[in-house]
């Protein structure tokens, strides 16, 4: 349309006669368009009129009625988001015959005590349903009482009433004090949860649905105000003329809200060592459970009609209901998990932290999204940028490097940062280390954050991360090369005839990268990613990664020992200008012991992998594990898909399909040899895992048992496990014991197979059950031990 500056325009007048929304099938009204042979006579200089009738008619005849045209910007997103009005399954505004638009439930009606209890419990169930990932529109926001309090948006706590109209308020204290305070306290608790989760890394619609539908969860109302409300409600309840059972039931529910609100608020304070408040909720939860049968649910107080005003651009979705017993169990787990987080905070080294987080996040069921966000918030505080409230990310990184590769080195000395002379080697070292921190600092802390995601995401993210760590390793190698010139490191002969250097930073990177690769493979078992006939190959590959890692640990140890001996020689030389401390030797020893722990764990993993590889290979050979036909695929193509995370890496060098096939199928070995390999390796495995168990979960504690701060050991020395709450140590030990049980189960399978093989030369008549992680019969989700039965 041409721009009009002034003067009347005949086209403008014509426009206003067009219907505002033409039907899809209608032709444009022709009566108001000038006919093509009409001359257009406009005399204004600012208007230039063009008769487009012919071209318009030609263009519109190019399509048949009902013919489809797809615009390039009409994507699948648009298609999926479309709703058909008046389709009851898609249109939340569609009313069934006789159905009213709004709910007719009277929120001001007098409630019986039993009904108040019932509604409170229903609200609690909805709150938990939201915690576990369902949207508010299907859970808490279906409650008419909650809706009334939050919409229109209350500017003060006083405005948050069931009726905004001052003239039509109810004077029933059960409603005004008890239910109202309960609702408000619940909403505020949700506010805390919402802030915590959305403040950290989570996946929308996977872990949690953060949509608030333009409502707010009373963010500006203070806890103090709400506690006052709850106190007033409790006071009233105390003196109310209702049955003693109902009185107690209401009291416990109000107290629970008080308690949980305190606990959630505490979680937002800077690191608080005393994390006990949430445990006081647990007896209250038990009381609520005990009195649940007193509650009379009021289903009319909950409605899906509210969805119309909340989320009208999506189809109507059902209300999510969960059982009260499940909801209470969720809260109990939440409180225990929150308490146990204290043990993560008490860890002293990055190795301890890593073990503690991993053990904690491997709990089944996995800690809820709130708890996982809570741990992330402590891992790296957004405001202070401190790790666990103590160190900077740079210090955290350096302490980890020191613990693995550089226990005593001029490279890491903090004092280097103070050196001002640019020509000083220490200045240069500080500069290079700062450069490394710039590349690695964030990536390192992200490893810990990643462990706080849901298990599927943790594995998926690891698959992406390893590529970054591959690049980091190359960058670190460059920095190592430059550092050598400043430390004047002498090369050594390690493994080959070529002298080589220690490469501390890239060694540190490689160590962690190999951890990631191992975890990717093992989590693959946990999440049942691998087909039954892939398991043999994956255990072979796991063993390959472990062997690579063991060699790497060996290399690191070699250079550490060299440095340690050099230091020792220096200290014995009384002419030396700088006499190294006795303490330095202790630092080296500590690191070497730490490396030995890692080494033992890798040997254990490697041995068990080899045993299971051999066992699964034998079963495959005798076709006791099903192998699908797979007409559209080939071994090589499937290998490429399965190995995708690893094939783009520079180090370790990708294993070719041909090597993989050759090595993992043991074609050169007879059945007896394969089984013998399995038998020997499982013997090694059991031995190594027992050593792992003995070494304990923490190097620090192994060194200093008197520091046993996270174990709840009683005077008898036996670990006391409080009901519901477990120690990291206890869980870690139980995990290792489960691996040992899996080793024993493997031995049994091997013995059974050997017997049949010796007797018949084959495995006919043997039935194999491959356990599913998470189900009964699987001792540990990372070790798939086939159960062999004689049919």
């Amino acid at each position: 349309m041409s721009q009009l500056n002034d003067g009347p325009n005949p086209l403008a007048l014509a426009d206003s006669h067009l219907p505002s929304r033409p039907n899809a099938d209608s032709r444009p009204p022709t009566s108001i368009l000038p006919r093509s042979d009409t001359k257009i006579n406009i005399t204004s200089h600012q208007i230039s009129a063009i008769d487009i009738t012919e071209s318009f008619t030609a263009a519109s005849s190019a399509l048949n009625t009902g013919q489809l045209v797809k615009d390039e910007y009409f994507t699948l997103f648009e298609a999926v988001g479309a709703l058909e009005i008046m389709d009851s399954k898609m249109d939340s505004g569609h009313l069934a015959p006789g159905e009213t638009l709004e709910d007719e439930y009277n929120v001001l009606r007098n409630l019986l005590p039993e009904e108040v209890i019932g509604i409170m419990d229903q609200i609690l169930c909805h709150e938990v349903a939201w915690h576990i990932g369902h949207p508010l529109s299907q859970t808490l926001f279906t409650c008419l009482y909650v809706e009334r309090l939050l919409w229109p948006e209350p500017k003060t706590l006083e405005e948050a009433q069931f009726s905004r109209d001052l003239n039509s308020r109810s004077d029933n204290p059960l409603l005004n004090r008890v239910l109202r305070s309960y609702c408000i306290a619940t909403i505020k608790a949700c506010h805390f949860v919402h802030c915590m989760v959305t403040g950290e890394s989570y996946y929308e619609e996977e872990d949690f649905t953060s949509q608030l539908y333009h409502r707010e969860l009373l963010p500006k109302v203070s806890i103090a105000e709400i506690q006052t409300l709850l106190d007033e409600a409790l006071s009233y309840n105390d003196t109310a003329s209702i049955s003693p059972e109902s009185k107690k039931a209401i009291e416990k529910r109000l107290q629970f809200r008080r308690s949980i609100l305190d606990a959630l608020e505490q979680d937002t304070f800077p690191l608080n060592a005393g994390r006990t408040p949430s445990l006081s909720c647990i007896p209250l939860l038990q009381d609520i459970k005990a009195s649940s049968q007193l509650g009379k649910p009021v289903n009319e107080a909950f409605s899906t009609k509210i969805q119309r005003t909340l989320a009208s651009s999506v189809p109507p979705r059902p209300m999510v209901t969960i059982k009260l017993s499940d909801a209470l169990a969720h809260f109990e787990t939440l409180c225990n998990d929150a308490t146990d987080v204290g043990q993560i905070l008490a860890t002293k080294t990055s190795e301890e932290l890593s073990t503690a987080i991993w053990v904690f996040m491997s709990r089944i069921p996995q800690p809820s999204v709130y708890i996982r966000a809570l741990v992330q918030s402590f891992l790296l505080d957004r405001e202070t940028q401190r790790v666990l409230g103590k160190t900077t990310t740079k210090q955290f990184l350096f302490s980890s490097i020191a613990a693995i590769v550089l226990p005593k080195s001029p490279i890491l000395e903090a004092a280097n940062d103070m050196v001002e002379s640019a020509t000083s080697p220490r200045f240069q070292m500080a500069r290079l280390l700062a450069e490394f921190d710039g590349k690695a600092g964030q990536q390192y802390i992200n490893i810990f954050r990643n462990a706080c995601l849901n298990r599927c995401r943790t594995r998926r993210t690891l698959c992406h991360l390893v590529l970054d760590w591959d690049t980091l390793q190359a960058d670190a190698e460059d920095i190592d090369g430059t550092l050598q010139t400043y430390t004047k490191e002498k090369p050594a002969l390690y493994a080959s005839h070529q002298p080589t250097y220690s490469y501390p930073l890239s060694s540190w990177v490689y160590h962690h990268k190999l951890n990631h690769l191992r975890q990717i493979i093992q989590m693959g078992f946990e999440l049942s990613i691998y087909a039954p006939d892939e398991i043999s190959g994956m255990y072979w590959f796991l063993s390959y990664i472990c062997a690579t890692h063991i060699s790497h640990i060996d290399r690191i140890s070699f250079f550490l020992e060299r440095d340690m001996l050099a230091q020792e020689a220096l200290s014995q030389n009384s002419d030396a200008p700088e006499k190294p401390d006795v303490k330095d030797q202790a630092d080296y020893q500590k690191t070497l012991k730490s490396l030995f722990r890692i080494y033992t764990h890798l040997k254990a993993t490697d041995a068990f992998s080899k045993a299971l590889h051999a066992l699964h290979t034998l079963l495959l050979r005798h076709k006791t594990i099903e192998v699908p036909q797979r007409p559209y695929s080939s071994d090589k193509l499937r290998y490429e898909l399965r190995m995708k995370p690893f094939l783009s890496l520079n180090v370790p060098e990708p294993v070719t399909f041909e090597s993989f096939r050759e090595e993992s199928s043991c074609t050169a070995l007879s059945d007896e040899e394969v089984l013998e390999e399995a038998r020997m390796r499982i013997g090694d495995a059991k031995k190594f895992w027992e050593e792992v168990l003995k070494a304990g979960w923490s190097a620090e504690l192994a060194e200093n048992p008197e520091l046993n701060r996270s174990s709840k050991e009683g005077k008898t020395g036996k670990t006391e496990m409080q009901k519901g709450s477990t120690t990291i140590e206890g869980e870690w030990s139980e995990g290792v014991k489960n691996v040992i049980r899996a080793c024993i189960a493997t031995s049994i399978s091997i013995v059974t197979l050997k017997k049949r093989l010796d007797e018949t030369g084959g495995l006919k008549g043997m039935k194999v059950m491959v356990p599913v992680p998470g189900e009964k019969g699987c001792w540990h989700e990372w070790w798939i031990v086939p159960r062999v039965l004689t049919v």
Binding site: F77, A79, I132, E205, N454, L637, L641
Partner: protein, 197 residues
């Protein structure tokens, strides 16, 4: 067109979708698919696939022209990289299950994709849908990843992938974490409501 024809159970014939028969076919397809969905798709979703990739849609019809089964899929570059086939919908009428119809339909879709130079094929299926998973795994698909709480009901899913050519895994794609160009994949995956086989 594929040279292979799959034998149909008695009373069933396999038919390729034709856009000229949209008015006849689409309502039937909608009816069969929507039975298994917790949330229906609008007409646009069907149009989106059938308009662009009608030649990747195959149906099983009985003697009375009732729909016994259908597969709907697409084929386009994935994140600027490999040509990826995607099986969007698959459904078999209850009374016709267990006769290999779904497998045949999937095979026809795969054959058509291969004929059109597909590098790989992907889909998501619900963790609890063991029948669907077995179907695809028997054909050669592997689970490439698990997707936590992928569906509206909170159930998790597996992504199943089939590589058709060597070197596919190394074809560069847009960084999934970087901003996608406007023409790249949409934000929402339709297959959150993938029907049961």
């Amino acid at each position: 067109m594929s040279n292979v024809s799959y034998s149909a159970p008695p009373g069933i014939r396999y038919v390729q979708y034709e856009s000229s028969k949209e008015a006849e076919y689409v309502p039937k397809i909608r009816q069969l698919i929507s039975k298994d969905l917790s949330e229906p798709y609008s007409i646009y979703v069907y149009r989106y696939f059938l308009y662009q990739w009608g030649n990747l849609c195959f149906m099983a019809m009985d003697d009375e022209d009732n729909l016994a089964g259908v597969v709907v899929s697409k084929l386009e570059p994935h994140r600027g990289g490999p040509l990826r086939g995607y099986i969007a919908m698959l459904a078999t009428k209850d009374s016709y299950r267990g006769k290999g119809i779904a497998t045949a339909l999937v095979r026809m879709a795969l054959d058509a994709m291969i004929a059109r130079n597909a590098d790989e094929v992907a889909l998501e299926t619900e963790e609890t849908n063991s029948a669907a998973m077995k179907l695809y795994e028997r054909l050669g698909f592997l689970r490439s990843k698990k997707l936590h709480r992928y569906y509206l009901n909170g159930n998790s899913a597996y992504r199943l992938v089939l590589y058709l050519k060597e070197g596919v895994g190394m074809i560069p794609t847009y960084d999934p974490y970087a901003d996608l160009p406007p023409s790249a994949e949409p934000l929402v995956d339709i297959e959150k409501n993938k029907p049961n086989q």
